[in-house]
């Protein structure tokens, strides 16, 4: 790792202020992705701001029947929370399908949203990568891209967002609450948090420098059947090839997809259709595949079909 200085923040706004004061500062919470990348010198912060002691580790009901999840609630605790298990089961299921027990014990809600792609060329510092080094090119587009994105891709980047949790958050229309160095707070709809790669794949979210996520808020429960189905190369501890999150109730259905794009993929217009093929056609409209990852269109269609059968069983 490159040398860095370290401080333990005592309040959310103080953390945001510290980040604004130090160029190349990073917040660290669970650290499971950041330290991994720092060891490879893909992330090279000069200053780390430890945000584990801000009291943002609680899950509370909101006034309108929703749920406010502190930014630093661990993935294990969020998946095991009784309200989440009962009323937002798709979120528990998504969390439990990700990573390993050890990683979920450390990884946080906000950190999970902000984790970076596992594209092999982002990790291989001997290869070009527009996300790691803007303007250097994309080795993935003509390389080993079997598990990379087919939706919303650009000529600069075909990386996927690796999170399962974020797919469920997108399905549930979560809001991401933040504070900036001036103490100003805002709520960002999850649909708008992550960006598509375009020609700036290194800019992954709409967060501004120094802006800190303080909580993620779920609207009131939807009811219905909750399903998260993840297809991967191993039975456990692997990233998705394709995943489908679904809530299906009386007269409504929602679907969100992982493993397809630079962000959780959801096409609301497709949710008025019926049958896996019609829904998949709408979700996958405009897909841009490579010979290696074209299988993802068929896999998405079939996984969606399996989810519909499971939800109606």
């Amino acid at each position: 790792m490159r040398p860095f200085t370290y401080e333990r923040a005592t309040s959310a706004q103080a953390a945001a202020q510290a980040a604004a004061a130090y160029p190349d500062a990073r917040f660290i919470a669970g650290g499971t992705n950041l330290l991994d990348l720092m060891k490879l010198q893909i992330e090279t912060p000069a200053h780390l701001i430890d945000v584990n002691h801000l009291g943002l580790d609680r899950i509370e009901k909101t006034g309108d029947g929703g749920l406010r999840i502190g930014a630093h609630v661990r993935n294990t605790d969020l998946a095991a929370d009784r309200t989440v298990r009962k009323d937002y089961a798709v979120l528990s299921r998504a969390l439990l399908s990700g990573a390993s027990g050890q990683l979920r014990n450390k990884a946080t809600t906000a950190g999970n949203l902000l984790q970076r792609t596992r594209c092999p060329y982002f990790y291989d510092t001997s290869k070009p990568c527009n996300k790691r080094k803007p303007g250097s090119g994309c080795a993935a587009i003509g390389g080993f891209n079997r598990n990379l994105a087919i939706m919303g891709v650009s000529d600069a980047c075909i990386a996927t967002h690796p999170s399962d949790m974020a797919v469920a958050m997108r399905l549930l229309d979560a809001r991401v609450e933040t504070v900036n160095p001036h103490g100003i707070t805002r709520a960002i709809p999850i649909a708008e948090l992550h960006r598509l790669p375009g020609d700036t794949p290194h800019i992954e979210t709409v967060l501004q420098p120094g802006e800190l996520i303080t909580s993620v808020v779920l609207p009131r429960p939807l009811g219905g059947r909750h399903v998260y189905r993840k297809v991967r190369d191993r039975a456990s501890h692997a990233f998705a090839n394709v995943s489908v999150a679904a809530v299906i109730g009386d007269g409504f259905q929602r679907f969100a997809f992982g493993g397809l794009a630079h962000k959780p993929w959801r096409v609301e217009a497709a949710e008025n259709l019926s049958g896996a093929d019609a829904i998949a056609d709408a979700v996958l409209a405009g897909a841009r595949t490579t010979p290696q990852n074209a299988f993802k269109t068929t896999l998405t269609r079939r996984t969606l079909g399996a989810v519909l059968r499971e939800a109606r069983a």
Binding site: P3, T76, A80, K86, L96, S100, L103, N105, H237
Partner: protein, 210 residues
């Protein structure tokens, strides 16, 4: 003075590694030893106080030092192993404040006031922890490199089942129980290159029943 015959596997490995290094890289070997051992650090050392296996410890360390390296290199607790050093293999698993974590993916300076349990804190050769005894009885290892991580992980994992924390294979999220399938899923963060998995599951099953 120590008995010259008291050669542990670690000292053999250390001396043979040093010999290999000299043979492979004579130019490096000629450099002053102190220079090789301590590359210059541009960051000031920091203090951290934590409890390791019930003993209060105070360390003065570079903030880059992971909890794993602090345990192995600073406290000489070499039971926790460095496998991949990226949170993929689980060989470094220790228990912090009752939770199993990858000690390679966390900084020691982030653990002020924490209680850490390593394999050395679970049991000793004279008084094995029940999980250690079960691994021996069921032959839950071959080379043994992943074993300290497997054992720390499995002890904390049984606690997670007891606490009602569900897993990916739990059918009803509200009702959590023990099964072989649960063990396999919950232990997926601990890789065994020798593939002793069936015997590891048997060892864990026995401790759960006891």
């Amino acid at each position: 003075m120590s008995d010259p015959n008291d050669v542990t596997r670690r000292t053999v490995l250390a001396s043979s590694a040093a010999a290999a290094g000299i043979a492979a890289a004579p130019a490096i070997a000629k450099q002053p030893v102190a220079h090789r051992k301590a590359p210059p650090s541009m960051t000031p050392s920091m203090q951290v106080a934590l409890t390791v296996n019930g003993k209060a410890e105070r360390l003065t360390i570079d903030p880059r030092v992971t909890l794993l390296d602090a345990l192995r290199e600073h406290l000489r607790l070499t039971g926790s192993k460095k496998g991949c050093d990226h949170g993929q293999c689980g060989a470094c698993t220790v228990i912090v404040n009752g939770r199993r974590i990858n000690s390679c993916l966390t900084l020691a300076v982030m653990h002020e006031g924490d209680e850490v349990t390593t394999i050395e804190g679970l049991g000793s050769p004279e008084k094995l922890h029940p999980m250690q005894a079960a691994f021996v009885k069921h032959d839950g290892f071959q080379c043994g490199y992943c074993t300290p991580g497997q054992i720390c992980s499995s002890v904390a994992m049984l606690g997670e089942i007891k606490d009602g924390i569900p897993s990916h294979v739990t059918e009803d999220l509200m009702h959590v129980g023990f099964s072989d399938a649960e063990v396999r899923e919950r232990m997926s963060g601990n890789i065994c290159r020798c593939a002793a998995y069936p015997n590891i599951v048997a060892a864990i099953r026995e401790v759960h029943k006891a």
